[in-house]
């Protein structure tokens, strides 16, 4: 019997060590000690003195995931550097699932004196809103969200990454010899569909006969499956791979088959030095800096922030030496036109990939239409699964 007790104890020790380790991880990089709770009862419009600002960041993934959440964390560091905040003025919580855990994380942050809180995943939204209703003096930001729930202390923020994807499409269209490009796509939501469409429009602006084959993975995260999907596209004859998924696996697959790849979220030339062309990137720091500054100035307002290349919140990574000759000129020209407004990516005439005219000449899709986009432009091989 004594032995059994010892076994149970060992099990317990193993479990506890995991929790302890996880605990270490989530507070790494920030000293989340019990700072005296700041009095935030003063009128919000007056602004918060800089030394009283405390910002909470809730990430869906690890701050070292080499992808989406890491991009946000780089933004946090940019913001802290630009505004001169100290380490104890931020709290980071990583790997927070899209559920009640998010609400708990936000409440913990408020208990620890946070007066600005950001959450970076779509499914965090409603949980964050629950907390926002209770704490009107705390300011909340929800990345990728599509509603502010009419709360005066709740913002959405997002980058028009499709503008950068359009530019990356130019690089891919210039590079493909087979005229077939593969696209590893995560989940069939409007954000991903919009990226594929803009990418394809970019490809066909320089290579009108090229096609973009899309395969859905139906998951946001599965590193091995991302490679398997990319290899399947390469087996189908594609010689350039683009991706809307988090890891470098598709680029590695391309390199192994002597093909080329457009990354996403991070500059990953080192993962596939012979294949990497470029990547559309987020520079979240531009938003975080402006948003926290407005809280300090007392000008903070609920908004639906959706900016692109011209605001600098999205960008195209430096073109690698793998890019085709003349790519830089074409990309620069398109970028200048997008920034000065003379090139509107979703302006007509645009046909869908079944031949129906979707946007008439002289018209363009509105932001609301872009937010619910569910069809592919001409040149895309694949379909958007319907939920019927």
């Amino acid at each position: 019997m004594q032995k059994k007790g010892l076994a149970a104890l060992l099990c317990l020790v193993m479990m506890m060590s995991v929790f302890t380790l996880a605990g270490c991880g989530s507070t790494a990089g920030s000293t989340a000690t019990q700072a005296p709770a700041t009095e935030t009862a003063q009128a919000p419009a007056a602004g918060i003195p800089k030394d009283k600002i405390k910002v909470g960041f809730i990430y869906i993934g690890s701050a070292h995931d080499g992808g989406y959440s890491q991009a946000h964390d780089r933004g946090r560091q940019d913001m802290m550097e630009t505004l001169g905040l100290t380490e104890d003025q931020v709290i980071v919580m990583e790997d927070v699932p899209e559920g009640a855990d998010c609400e708990k994380a936000a409440r913990d942050m408020i208990d620890n004196g946070c007066n600005v809180i950001y959450a970076n995943s779509f499914g965090h939204g409603e949980w964050l809103a629950n907390v926002a209703k209770e704490f009107p003096e705390v300011k909340f930001g929800h990345a990728t969200g599509i509603t502010t729930y009419d709360l005066p202390n709740y913002s959405n923020y997002m980058g028009r990454i499709y503008e950068a994807r359009y530019l990356s499409g130019i690089a891919a269209g210039m590079k493909t010899k087979a005229g077939k490009i593969g696209y590893v796509a995560a989940m069939p939501i409007a954000e991903v569909v919009r990226g594929i469409d803009a990418f394809t429009l970019g490809v066909r602006s320089v290579n009108p006969a090229a096609t973009v084959e899309v395969i859905w993975m139906n998951t946001w995260y599965d590193p091995a499956l991302e490679k398997t999907t990319a290899t399947t596209l390469l087996n189908n004859g594609c010689d350039v791979i683009a991706q809307h998924c988090d890891t470098t696996s598709p680029q590695v697959a391309a390199e192994e088959k002597g093909a080329f790849a457009v990354g996403y979220n991070s500059s990953t030339l080192d993962a596939a030095p012979k294949a990497y062309l470029t990547a559309p990137l987020f520079h979240w720091g531009k938003f975080y800096t402006a948003d926290v500054q407005s809280a300090i100035d007392g000008t903070w307002k609920s908004q639906r922030y959706w900016e692109g290349l011209s605001a600098g919140v999205v960008a195209l990574d430096d073109l690698s030496a793998n890019c085709a000759e003349g790519t830089a000129e074409k990309v620069e020209a398109a970028k200048a036109k997008i920034m000065d407004g003379s090139l509107v990516i979703f302006s007509g005439p645009i046909k869908d990939n079944e031949g129906n005219e979707k946007v008439k000449a002289g018209e363009a899709l509105s932001d609301a239409e872009l937010e619910s986009l569910q069809w592919f432009v001409e040149g895309v091989i694949g379909s958007v699964p319907t939920s019927n």
Partner: protein, 323 residues
């Protein structure tokens, strides 16, 4: 596609074998433990520990064989924890295995935080790059699957064959099976039951660690959080699917690897059946490995053939005093 369906199928099978290789290693690891009477649900955890250790050593040392050994040993270390609790302390195998999975994933992701910015040296990649066996790789259909692969994939097949020979053709293998079937009888024959269990659990952990190393060092070639992503659980199911037979594990591993990729291949292919267009739901395809495992369990129950049954003493602790 203008390359012809045979060439396309050959490439698909090549990919299926690559997807199936981590499953094969995990399954072989599971079989080793279960043949000795221990059900280890910690495969996922041991694969994660192997994946992170193998990747770290590969990135730091640049030595491919050393990386594989380190990955394997990390898996063995996980198995050692399990063995101490279930064999020496006679704790519950199911609970301990689950704990090992949680523990292994947690510690691997923790150590892995330092690995996300590391890249593998070119020596590692070229060592594990696919090699083409002259002549054989040109065989229709199976040529690319078996003979145009990384040496790691071929190692998996080789190990499966060796383990089959070990269990079925050697005295030592017979002793292990006896321990799994009836440890009391084995003990009476003078077999050191606990030693056999320890050795095979550690060896099984080593294979799981190798499976993880294959994923991080050979297949994905980059450390990613939660990189094994459930493959260890499919391997646990595969042990049953293969009916504890290492040779069938090759077939099962590759079949499940194919099932993971067939949905991707068929996604943009329009299929018609009796004039109706059919669409295969990817979620349905994802269920197939588990459905097939349940089917095998049912068939095993119906068949009542002795060699189709799990080891007699599986997941029970052995108390010498109860003999």
């Amino acid at each position: 596609m203008d390359i012809g369906w045979i060439a396309a199928a050959a490439m698909f099978l090549q990919l299926a074998a690559q997807c199936g290789t981590p499953l094969l290693f995990g399954t072989l690891g599971g079989i080793l433990g279960e043949k000795a009477g221990n059900l280890n649900l910690g495969v996922e955890g041991m694969m994660m520990m192997g994946a992170v250790t193998g990747y770290y050593v590969a990135a730091v040392s640049g030595h491919p064989v050393l990386a594989a050994l380190a990955g394997g040993l990390a898996g063995s270390l996980g198995a050692l924890l399990y063995a101490v609790i279930t064999v020496t302390l006679q704790g519950n195998q199911t609970v301990t295995g689950l704990t090992l999975t949680i523990f292994g994933c947690g510690i691997a992701n923790y150590i892995g935080k330092g690995c996300t910015s590391m890249t593998l040296p070119a020596t590692i990649r070229s060592f594990y790059a696919p090699i083409s066996v002259p002549g054989l790789s040109k065989l229709p259909l199976v040529g690319k699957m078996l003979f145009e692969q990384s040496n790691f994939v071929m190692l998996g097949i080789l190990l499966a064959i060796l383990i089959w020979i070990y269990f079925n053709k050697t005295r030592a293998g017979l002793n292990v099976r006896m321990v799994g079937e009836n440890p009391g009888a084995a003990d009476a024959c003078g077999i050191h039951v606990n030693l056999v269990k320890y050795l095979h659990l550690l060896a099984g952990g080593f294979l799981c660690g190798l499976g993880g190393t294959y994923l991080s060092v050979v297949y994905i070639t980059r450390w990613q959080n939660d990189l094994v992503a459930g493959l260890g659980w499919i391997a646990v199911a595969l042990v049953i699917f293969a009916i504890w037979n290492p040779i069938r594990a090759i077939f099962g591993g590759y079949l499940f690897g194919a099932l993971r990729s067939i949905g991707l291949v068929l996604q943009n292919t329009r299929m018609t059946f009796l004039g109706h267009e059919i669409r295969l739901d990817p979620q349905l395809l994802d269920m197939l490995p588990y459905l097939m495992t349940i089917l095998v369990l049912v068939l095993m129950g119906v068949q009542k053939k002795k060699e189709y049954q799990p080891p007699g003493w599986l997941s029970r602790s052995y108390y010498r005093e109860d003999r």
